[in-house]
């Protein structure tokens, strides 16, 4: 709801009297986390760091102390169910991604006036927003990558990249609403005009648009239970005339609903917009209706109430409940009961922690019983979902891969020693544990969704990483030259780092619903899984190629030709593996397309990307068989294969054209270009190696007795590399 006038700044919350006990146990448990978790946290912090190395810091907030929520409150609340994005999920998931969307992180870090640092998890933040909105309005949750965006709305900027609280942004709220509407229109024109550059938003405009949408969503969250607060902390109070603010303190919405005539939402809107009433009673009634409409429309979006009719799938927010009660008299007792439950909960929130905890527990139990009673299986795997996110399996996986890398690097200090041998076993152990966490996390995701491992772009990242590490371990088992371990650690660290980064960037539920065409477990399990195994092999081949080229150019294991021969043979095997899975996956994709879209091949960008991988592996294998490519050539082209795989995996999704629209993403070109530049530099290493080999060969030929026939592979004028 855009605000026409800048609202007055809310008075600072009076928190001198703490309403909730401070759970010291949480702090203690924080101190006893294992070492690898600290490492994971460090890496995670890196993953969520913004550009130019600007890191979120403890931001001072204008309240004396932050009363943390008791563990039983957060644990009860996180298990509650909410419907969002077409599915019923635990509040934990909802809060996590909502906060990520605003903040780019799943926690809020700040420092209260008493000097205490706080690291509130998303569920605690959501509790604050719903039950202590005045406090939440001071939490620094809105990340702004460039201070120019806040300057544009007339707010005093902090650092170049920083986080702002709602109250920080309030002075510019009206300008923000105005600019958000303007930029949203411009963006719509851009989409409608088939991407006419005239309408393209610049970087700052894009940031302002996102900020405006985030602030608006936050306001909706804050005002969810506004009707139960007796006129306190009305988020949209600036749109209310003074007499309505006064009325809000006195008028009980539940009692009002009980007395109102049955009317549709349209009739309510007409009544609210009707001209000034002739007498006081009429005027009062109109004001009451305005207030009712205000609370009902402010309370929409957070759908936690299962509808009473079992056949209805759409859950309701408290705003929907109010409007349903208004529209249907037979639903009114049910609606009033829900409103009373919320009132009781909000009331309990103003008392001590134990009271609130008990009230929330009752509310949650009723809520679960109601959902279970519908017999639709909604949220029946929510506990598993909470476990998935609380288990931090993918972060742990990253931590173990990092540890494996560190151990591997240390083992290089004393190559061949017993110490190095033990460390190598340590590396294997860390990789296996990291892989276990990865596979466990993926398995939980499959069980939660009842789907094969990959249904979206995020899934591909964790799956390809796991597959890459597994393949690397198998290679190491077969060759035992240490390269498999190195490649496995590199693939593991980069892949899991990317998954965390991507999740934070997208900030949307990674287990969302599927579009109709993807609603087939058979094709997801076959085509999608197989082609992603092909991607994993392509990436692995590129890393092996890079190891070969960089190793040789840097003189690593100089003179050990066997090492490089084995390495090359290993890469050849991986390329064959890549071809097999890419080819089978691509043709399976064609067959799926023939079932769903009516054609086997349509030159769609995603199809073309897969085809390019097949073609390039064929180029390498035929070049090798024809004698045009030898070791250096094969490895240079393997790195190029990696470029093609990343183009197919990420690049085509960024083009924004084609039938695979469900996989579209944006904002990855910069990272792709950087990775391709690195690949280009690595490939360039092949040139001096090739020149040196050619010179060596020439020298040998010159030294050989005359009359010996010159070797001539493939009829090519140039010598193969």
């Amino acid at each position: 709801m855009p605000l026409p006038h800048p609202p007055e700044k809310l008075p600072p919350p009076d928190l001198s009297e703490s309403h909730f006990s401070n759970p010291r146990s949480l702090l203690i448990s924080m101190k006893t986390v294992k070492r690898f978790r600290a490492l994971a946290a460090a890496v995670l912090a890196m993953a969520t760091a913004g550009p130019a190395g600007v890191q979120a810091k403890d931001v001072s907030v204008p309240f004396d102390t932050y009363p943390e929520w008791p563990a039983e409150v957060t644990d009860t609340f996180r298990q509650m169910l909410v419907q969002e994005g077409g599915r019923v999920k635990p509040v934990h998931t909802y809060a996590r991604f909502m906060l990520m969307q605003f903040s780019g992180r799943s926690k809020v870090t700040f420092e209260s006036k008493d000097g205490q640092s706080h690291n509130a998890e998303a569920v605690a933040w959501l509790l604050d927003t719903l039950f202590r909105p005045q406090l939440s309005a001071d939490l620094p949750i809105f990340v702004v990558d460039d201070s120019e965006a806040v300057s544009r709305i007339g707010v005093e900027p902090k650092e170049k990249r920083d986080r702002y609280s709602y109250n920080d942004l309030l002075p510019g709220r009206s300008k923000l609403a105005e600019l958000t509407a303007e930029y949203a229109r411009k963006k719509q024109q851009y989409d409608d005009s088939e991407k006419n550059p005239q309408y393209e938003l610049d970087r700052i405009e894009g940031m302002v648009l996102v900020l405006g949408q985030n602030v608006s969503n936050f306001e909706y969250l804050m005002s969810q239970f506004g009707f139960a607060r007796k006129g306190e902390a009305l988020t949209h109070e600036s749109v209310l005339p003074a007499e309505l603010k006064e009325l809000a303190k006195r008028l009980d919405m539940t009692e009002m609903l009980d007395k109102m005539p049955e009317m549709t939402v349209n009739q309510l809107v007409q009544a609210v917009q009707a001209p000034a009433a002739p007498d006081d009673d009429q005027a009062m009634l109109k004001s009451a209706m305005q207030l009712f409409f205000f609370h009902a429309s402010s309370g929409r979006g957070f759908s936690i109430f299962p509808p009473p009719a079992k056949e209805t799938e759409e859950w309701m927010s408290i705003g929907d409940v109010m409007l349903t009660g208004l529209e249907k008299k037979d639903m009114r007792p049910w609606a009033i009961e829900r409103m009373n439950e919320v009132k009781a909960l909000v009331e309990a929130g103003t008392k001590d922690g134990a009271t609130f905890s008990a009230a929330l527990k009752k509310f949650a139990d009723d809520h679960h019983a109601e959902a279970d009673g519908r017999g639709r299986g909604e949220g029946d795997r929510s506990e598993m979902e909470v476990k998935l996110y609380q288990g931090n399996y993918f972060t742990n996986s990253l931590a173990w891969f990092v540890l494996a890398f560190v151990l591997l690097a240390v083992s290089w200090l004393a190559p061949g020693s017993a110490f190095s041998k033990y460390l190598t076993w340590g590396v294997v152990g860390c990789l296996v544990i990291g892989l276990f966490y990865n596979v466990y996390g993926i398995t939980l995701r499959c069980l939660i969704r009842h789907r094969p491992p990959i249904t979206n772009l995020y899934d591909t990242v964790i799956f390809i990483t796991g597959t890459g590490v597994l393949l690397a371990l198998i290679l190491e088992r077969m060759t035992r030259i240490g390269v498999g371990l190195f490649v496995g650690t590199v693939a593991g660290v980069i892949g899991m780092f990317l998954s965390i980064k991507y999740e934070a960037k997208e900030a949307t539920d990674t287990m969302g619903q599927l579009v109709a065409v993807l609603d087939t477990n058979f094709w997801l399990a076959t085509h999608v899984t197989i082609i992603n195994i092909g991607y994993a092999a392509g990436i692995l081949s590129a890393i092996l190629g890079a190891v070969y080229l960089v190793g040789r150019i840097s003189g690593l294991r100089k003179g050990d030709r066997d090492f490089y021969r084995v390495l090359n043979r290993m890469n050849y095997g991986v390329i064959c593996f890549c071809l097999f899975f890419s080819l089978v996956g691509t043709v399976l994709g064609g067959i799926w397309a023939n079932y769903s879209w009516g054609r086997f091949w349509g030159w769609d960008p995603k199809e073309n990307g897969a085809l390019m991988i097949c073609l390039w592996t064929l180029v390498i294998l035929h070049g090798r068989m024809g004698g045009y490519l030898r070791e250096i050539g094969i490895n240079v082209n393997a790195v190029l294969l990696g470029v093609i795989v990343t183009f197919s995996w990420w690049g085509v999704n960024n083009l924004g054209v084609g039938l695979h629209s469900y996989g579209f993403t944006d904002g990855v070109w910069k990272w792709l270009l950087i990775s391709w530049a690195i690949c280009g530099a690595v490939m360039f290493c092949g040139l001096p190696l090739w020149l040196r080999e050619r010179a060596d060969r020439q020298e040998k030929q010159n030294a050989a007795p005359s009359g010996r026939k010159k070797p001539k592979p493939g009829g090519s004028a140039a010598q193969p590399a």
């Binding site: 077409g86 579009v515 065409v517 769903s596 054609r599 030159w603 024809g626 083009l655």
Partner: protein, 433 residues
């Protein structure tokens, strides 16, 4: 596949040279590299020009000129590079060469060994895939059929080809037959050309001019007509629009003159536009009515259409969204297939088409786009008549079997080598001793 030697280039060895060239690894590599390049360029080209244009230029062509600027933003200092034309082989030529190369090199000339059996099978599968691609390209006919619940249809409409239809009307204003000028004869009319069409059944000749790929007729009284070029006909002018990236969204228009054969009476001239077609399946296209030699006729632009050997009635269309969001969860059509009076109820869903009598009906989309909840909706089927419909599946099975045999043998060979080497070592040592 074979390798070329200097001797092959002797004139007397020309046939051998050609066979050697067409079966060489060199050709295989060159073709594969160019295929990768045109696939990349064709993909990038789609961003600005759409899929249809990209297919025509890169994949359904023998040769092409590529400009680096297409789909690839260049910094201002390098924009000149983007204007340099790069001549390249097109998709047709490359796939033809690849088929020849595979057939000669990997099937005919290859040494038939036990070890090579897997590759032989895999290459055969690939040739079969290429052939199925050619058969699909040459013989597949694709279109769509859109039906509201209760409607029955037995004709398929083209997505993007329009034809001009002349309808002789009876006294009741109805037409028993239609004479058509096909799309190809319309789209090839050049600027300034007036193309004449004659029909023995009609008392007039038809002169078509001013063909425009995508245009809107606007009344000359409207301010926007200032932007329209060309002749004014009947108070209208054609406002030329930029061709859409999606070829099926282009709505062509022509100026048609109906000139009496008898010489008596005046010619009738009008603008005929695809925009007069009513896109709702419940209604036919609007037509321009006229009278010549006392007989009444109607003319209109309609999509090219053809019959299927059975009728389809839409009994129920089911459309479901995920709760609370606009994302479609499922759409399916309950239909009845009617043939020679016999009726058979069936379902067509996403990923579950109906295949019958050489035709395949896919659940494609639905409409109207602006339908409110509770409004009647139509279901649209993509209809294909492809003789090679299932061939890719067969080719996949063949290729997979071949690759599994080949790579399985290689892997076995690789993993058993150390054991063989170890077993051979004592014997070698003994021999050395």
């Amino acid at each position: 596949m074979s390798q070329l030697t200097a001797e092959d280039f002797q004139p007397k060895n020309l046939p051998r040279l050609l066979v050697g060239l067409f079966s060489s690894y060199w050709l295989a590599m060159v073709v594969l590299i160019f295929m990768t390049l045109i696939t990349l360029f064709g993909t990038l080209y789609q961003v600005d020009h759409g899929l249809f244009a990209a297919k025509q230029k890169y994949f359904h062509s023998w040769f092409l000129l590529h400009y680096l600027r297409d789909g690839m933003p260049l910094p201002p200092s390098l924009e000149w590079i983007g204007t340099i034309p790069l001549p390249m082989p097109g998709g047709f030529l490359l796939m033809l060469l690849l088929t020849i190369n595979l057939s000669i090199g990997a099937i005919i000339k290859v040494r038939k060994r036990k070890k090579g059996i897997g590759m032989l099978i895999a290459h055969f599968g690939m040739i079969f895939l290429l052939v199925s691609g050619f058969v699909t390209f040459a013989f597949n006919r694709e279109g769509y059929m859109a039906l509201y619940e209760g409607q029955t249809g037995s004709r398929v409409e083209s997505y993007r080809t329009w034809q001009l239809e002349i309808l002789p009307l009876n006294e009741a204003g109805e037409a028993d037959k239609a004479l058509t000028i096909p799309y190809h004869d319309l789209e090839t009319i050049r600027e300034g050309e007036r193309r004449e069409f004659k029909a023995a059944d009609l008392p007039f000749d038809i002169v078509i001019s001013d063909y425009t790929k995508n245009a809107v007729p606007v009344p000359v009284s409207a301010p926007i007509s200032a932007q329209a070029t060309g002749r004014e006909v009947g108070g209208f002018k054609l406002l030329v629009q930029k061709p859409s990236k999606e070829a099926e969204q282009n709505l062509p228009a022509v100026i048609a003159t109906f000139r009496p054969k008898s010489g008596a009476g005046e010619s009738v001239e009008t603008i005929l536009s695809a925009r007069s077609a009513n896109f709702d399946p419940r209604d036919g296209a609007m037509a321009f009515g006229f009278e010549i030699d006392g007989k009444r006729f109607a003319a209109r632009m309609v999509k090219e259409n053809w019959p299927v050997p059975f009728a389809v009635r839409l009994d129920k269309f089911i459309f479901e969204r995920h709760p609370g969001v606009s994302m479609a969860r499922n759409y399916e059509s309950r239909i009845t297939r009617i043939e020679s009076g016999a009726e058979r109820p069936l379902e067509i869903k996403m990923n579950e088409p109906m295949r019958y009598a050489g035709f395949t009906f896919f659940q494609e989309s639905f409409g109207p786009a602006n339908a409110a909840p509770g409004d009647a909706m139509y279901s649209q089927f993509a209809v294909h008549n492809n003789p090679a419909d299932q061939w890719p599946l067969y080719s996949l099975l063949i290729t997979t079997a071949g690759l599994m045999i080949h790579f399985g043998m290689r892997l076995f060979d690789h993993t058993s080598r150390p054991r063989r080497d170890a077993a051979a070592a004592p014997a070698g040592e003994a021999a050395a001793a």
